[in-house]
Amino acid sequence: MVSLNGNVFFSDNVEDFPTFIKSAYKFLKTDYSKFFKMDNLSKLAFLAADALLKKENLNEKENNIALIFSNKASSLDTDRKHQASIENDAEYFPSPAVFVYTLPNICLGEISIKHRLYSENSFFIFDRFNAEHLQLYANSLLRNGKAEKVLCGWVDFDENSYDAFLYLVEKEGKIEHKTEEITRLYNIL
């Protein structure tokens, strides 16, 4: 299921992630050939960000939107694939295309390239969704003029369990950026 501002705009009953994300990609009409070369975490983060940023009328040359993402599983899903390709000496053929995704923050690069974000970005690993950290870091960036807007959230993928929750915050927004509100929004989805 994919929702924007509380409204579900895409759902599919398929259970496996590759089928789901491909259907969502086609539904969103996200025309980006490199998408199919990404690992699962990057596909999830990229499409979630695309659904949200599409509505923002972004500048074609440069956008000052910082990224603060977080999750629990880091890049474990891809790390396991890489490990499987190197654990047998007789069949030692690591894939360069897999290896480049063995860091969670690579997904931030994919988003930045697509939307021309020349801004700060960070990826944090926590045991649980951490609204306090997102709130403090995003507010600091906005207060210090490091970014005009901040795309924050949680993008987690491990085996076939996944979830993505992103929101865009700016100085003069409609909803107050406080931890209780962030947690409430995360929990209702």
Binding site: S33, F35, F36, K37, F93, P94, S95, P96, A97, V100
Partner: protein
């Protein structure tokens, strides 16, 4: 040789995750990089691994790849001559 070229096209599509492209879309002489299939530097590294894994060909100099990966035809000629498996 024709069988090898078809095999290479299928492997390229599958291993490089080329979406919405089928074997029939790739002509023997189509450029694989640049304006052709639009492959990138990571794809080139994947092709080097594929040569090693599937055909027992090790490229000591990655620059050799530029010539060998010019098209499916050039790749097939090279594999035919140098394969060890």
């Amino acid at each position: 040789m024709s069988e090898l070229k078809e095999e290479l096209k299928a492997k390229i599509i599958e291993q490089l995750n080329l979406e919405d492209i089928v074997v029939a879309d790739i002509a023997d002489d189509d450029a694989l990089f640049g304006d052709g299939l639009g492959l990138d530097s990571i794809d080139a590294l994947e092709l080097i691994v594929m040569l090693d894994k599937d055909y027992g060909i090790r490229l000591s100099d990655p620059k050799e790849g530029r010539k060998i990966f010019e098209s499916v035809q050039v790749m097939a000629d090279y594999i035919q001559e140098h394969r060890t498996k």
